[in-house]
Structures are given as structure tokens and as C-alpha cells.
């Protein structure tokens, strides 16, 4: 049964139009799905196809496309395979449905994504601050947050220009490649 389950799932998913289905190897599947169909697909995977373990939800900020990509990794203990469900939602207003009613661990990941990307999940039990409890700035993992500018504005650097370096510079030597040039 459990061996055939994978084959049935492959057949089903490759039959549905608008679902992009890629089997990487015997244990990894990538599915690209529209954001309206994702909860139904997860319902099917969890309820019928034994994918009961939500490993992680990851978020990618595609700022040039104006989209957030959400990746739901679900694992099945029976078929021992991981399905990664990719979906894209518009960056603005950045609101999506919570899957807390399907997978309870999702509350943890959604709260984290909300904090780091500012993406709001409707129906998630807690969207309060999580790790960055003392942070009042914009969500720091968004691509439009310039970490380097923030650092330069809020911190200063220890100057290090010792005598031996000055001596080298007097002789015409010194630092040839500065970190600023490499960046």
C-alpha cells in the first residue's frame, strides 16, 4: 500500500493542470501550486496521503516580482518522502491563510515569518512578537530592509591603525585591498 501511494500521488498531481509537479528522486517531490489551491492540496496530502508532519514553512522575498514565495515542507513517515509545496502570493498587502487548523506546528512557523517578513497569516492563533521582542524596526528579512545602512546609522566602528601599519604606509606599502573594494 505505502509503496503504491507514491505512484498514485504522482499520477494524480501530474494529471491536474495548473499544478507543476516535479519528482526529484524517490524521496523528494516539488509541487508548484496557486495560492488558492494550496490549503486543499495540503488537506489532501495530510488527510489522504499520510503526509502528517509539517517540517517547516519557509519564505522567500522576490522583491523584483513583487511576490513572497512560501514553501511548505511536509513529510510522510509511511512513504518516507518529503513534498515541498511552493506557492507565491503578492507582496502587497502580504496576507495569506493560516494552515493552523491542518497542522498545529504551523503556528510557530507563521509567527516567525510574520516577524521576519511582515507577512500576516489570517487565522493563526498568535501573531505577536516572537524572538525579536525588543525590535521596533521594519521586518528585518525583507529585501527592502538595508541591514548595512541600519548598522552604519546605529553603530560605530573601532578604529585600528597601529604603529606597524603606519610604518608600512610610510615605506609605500600598506593595505592593498580594502574590504569596501571587495564588496
Amino acid at each position: 500500500m505505502s509503496k503504491e501511494l507514491n505512484i498514485w500521488l504522482d499520477n494524480l498531481l501530474s494529471d491536474i493542470e495548473s499544478v507543476q509537479f516535479q519528482r526529484r528522486n524517490s524521496r523528494r517531490v516539488r509541487v508548484d501550486v496557486g495560492s488558492e489551491a494550496l490549503p486543499a492540496l495540503l488537506e489532501l496530502l495530510q488527510g489522504r496521503a499520510s503526509y502528517v508532519h509539517l517540517s517547516a514553512i519557509t519564505c522567500v522575498d522576490w522583491i523584483e516580482d513583487g511576490q513572497f514565495e512560501l514553501v511548505y515542507h511536509v513529510w510522510s513517515y509511511e512513504t518516507r518522502s518529503l513534498v515541498s509545496v511552493h506557492t507565491r502570493i503578492p507582496r502587497d498587502p502580504g496576507v495569506y491563510l493560516s494552515i493552523y487548523d491542518l497542522y498545529q506546528p504551523a503556528a510557530f512557523f507563521e509567527r516567525d515569518i510574520h516577524e521576519m517578513y511582515g507577512l500576516y497569516f489570517e487565522g493563526s492563533p498568535d501573531m505577536e512578537k516572537f524572538i525579536l521582542t525588543e525590535w521596533n524596526g521594519p521586518p528585518p528579512m525583507r529585501k527592502d530592509f538595508d541591514g548595512e545602512a541600519f548598522v552604519n546609522e546605529h553603530f560605530h566602528w573601532e578604529q585600528y591603525h597601529p604603529q606597524w601599519l603606519k610604518d608600512l604606509e610610510e615605506e609605500g606599502g600598506g593595505i592593498t585591498v580594502r574590504p569596501e573594494d571587495v564588496r
Binding site: 525579536l132 521582542t133 525588543e134 525590535w135 524596526g137 528585518p140 530592509f145 541591514g147 548595512e148 541600519f150 548598522v151 546605529h154 553603530f155 560605530h156 566602528w157 573601532e158 585600528y160
Partner: protein
């Protein structure tokens, strides 16, 4: 080079400079030296590891490199510790706790910054969450640079601190009282204007007779404006079922 070496004050001159007045008791200097020697040979190191550099401390403390042969032992509470080791990167959240811890330690206290991160942010130089120059927020006695420093380097840094203590150079804890306004200003810049700690540093500075013109300033004025008086925690007892008790 020889000129530079001559400029470094030798130990006895330094002591005379610091005492500033003539000692009447002929044995006072001997006694002071003895106290400093004993102090440097018996140190308790606070066991509060902040970053990844802490991974080098177990081998430095235990049988392989054996810190205890130098008289340095781990201690679990700040109030009974002499050394605060800041091992590695300091996030802004951690820095608050470090300052709370540091202020609770009894004087004299010494701070050692381990790893590149405490010097200049290290590999987290770009991170929004990491404080960069530890020296801005606390007076640091010894820096041990490296990413990360081997236990040999840690031991050698601790030996340097011991040498500093016995020769009277490790007095950075006084700097915290003498320049409290500067340190508080940097803390306020990072934590906001209403930052306050339960320890009354200004009263302590008066107690140790370490008030200078840099102790009070605009930042301490700001602190006084926002300071909320500490209240004792409420304690309540209730016995619901007398039979059980």
C-alpha cells in the same frame, strides 16, 4: 623602538602616580602589594556564556588546560564573581542582560571580551541585531581577539589580566563609575531613552568615592527623568484546602 620601551612606566612609578599622596604607614605599600597579589591569584569567573566562543572555555577550564591551576574557577552567580567573560557576539537583547549582570557584580570586577565580535562585530558586522563595539557599553579590561581564540590564547589573556591586577593596571571597573554618563549614553542610544537598571550606579559611585565630572551629565539627567522607583515584588499566600495542609 627603544624610545617606546622607555616610555612605558614601570610598576613602582605607576603605583606612586595612582596613590597620589604620601603614605604614612611604611608597611602600606607592602600590604597593598600583598592584597593585589592575592586578588590576582583567586578569581571567580562568571559562568554566563553569551556567544559561540564559549565552546573554547570547557577545555580551558577542565583537565586539558586547567584554568584552576591559575586560581580561576567558574562561579554561577554575578554577586560572587570577579570576572565577566563576554564570549563572542553580543546581540542587543543579550547586551541588556550583560549590563544587568555586570552592574550586580561586586567591585572590583573585570571584564574580558573574547573573540573578534566583541572588538568590532566580527563576522556579524552587518547584522542589525548585534552590538558591535563592546567597549562602548562596558569598560573592558582585556580583549582576546581571534575567531575563535584557542584555549592557549584564553589562558594567556587570563594571565595578562592576572598580571594587570597584581600590578594595579586593571582598574576599568572604576571607569564605569567615573564615566557613567558616557556608558549610559551609549546604552540609551541602543535601548531607548527609558532604559534603566535596578542598580543605582550613581549612589554606588558616591559610596566608592568615584564621582567625577563625567559621572553625571545629560544622559543621567534623562535617566532620572524616566526612572521609575523600584517596587518590592508582591507576595501573597493563600490556603484553599486546610485539610490538605
Amino acid at each position: 623602538m627603544s624610545n617606546e620601551l622607555e616610555n612605558i612606566p614601570i610598576r613602582q612609578e605607576l603605583e606612586v602616580l595612582q596613590s597620589g599622596q604620601k603614605r604614612t604607614n611604611p608597611l602600606a605599600n607592602v600590604f597593598d602589594g600583598l592584597v593585589k597579589f592575592c586578588r590576582s591569584r583567586s578569581m571567580f569567573m562568571l559562568h554566563y556564556c553569551t556567544g559561540c566562543g564559549a565552546i573554547e572555555l570547557p577545555p580551558a577550564m577542565t583537565s586539558r588546560f586547567d584554568m584552576e591551576r591559575l586560581g580561576i574557577q567558574p562561579m554561577v552567580t554575578p554577586r560572587q564573581a570577579d570576572i565577566l567573560l563576554i564570549t563572542g557576539y553580543v546581540s542587543i537583547k543579550t547586551l541588556k542582560r550583560i549590563i544587568l549582570t555586570y552592574e550586580q557584580m561586586g567591585s572590583p570586577k573585570y571584564v574580558i571580551g573574547i573573540c573578534s565580535c566583541t572588538v568590532n562585530g566580527g563576522m556579524y558586522w552587518q547584522s542589525y541585531a548585534t552590538a558591535k563595539v563592546l567597549r562602548d557599553y562596558l569598560p573592558v579590561d582585556v580583549y582576546i581577539a581571534g575567531c575563535m581564540p584557542r584555549p592557549e590564547a584564553v589562558i594567556s589573556g587570563l594571565r595578562e589580566l592576572m598580571e594587570d591586577i597584581s600590578s594595579g593596571r586593571a582598574e576599568s571597573w572604576k571607569k564605569y563609575y567615573q564615566h557613567y554618563d558616557y556608558y549610559l549614553g551609549n546604552q540609551q542610544k541602543l535601548f531607548g531613552e527609558d532604559w534603566q537598571t535596578p542598580t543605582d550606579i550613581i549612589a554606588e559611585a558616591r559610596h566608592y568615592d568615584l564621582m567625577t565630572e563625567h559621572t553625571l551629565g545629560e544622559h543621567t539627567a534623562l535617566l532620572e527623568k524616566h526612572q521609575k522607583p523600584l517596587e518590592a515584588l508582591e507576595m501573597r499566600l493563600s490556603v484553599k484546602d486546610k485539610q490538605k495542609v
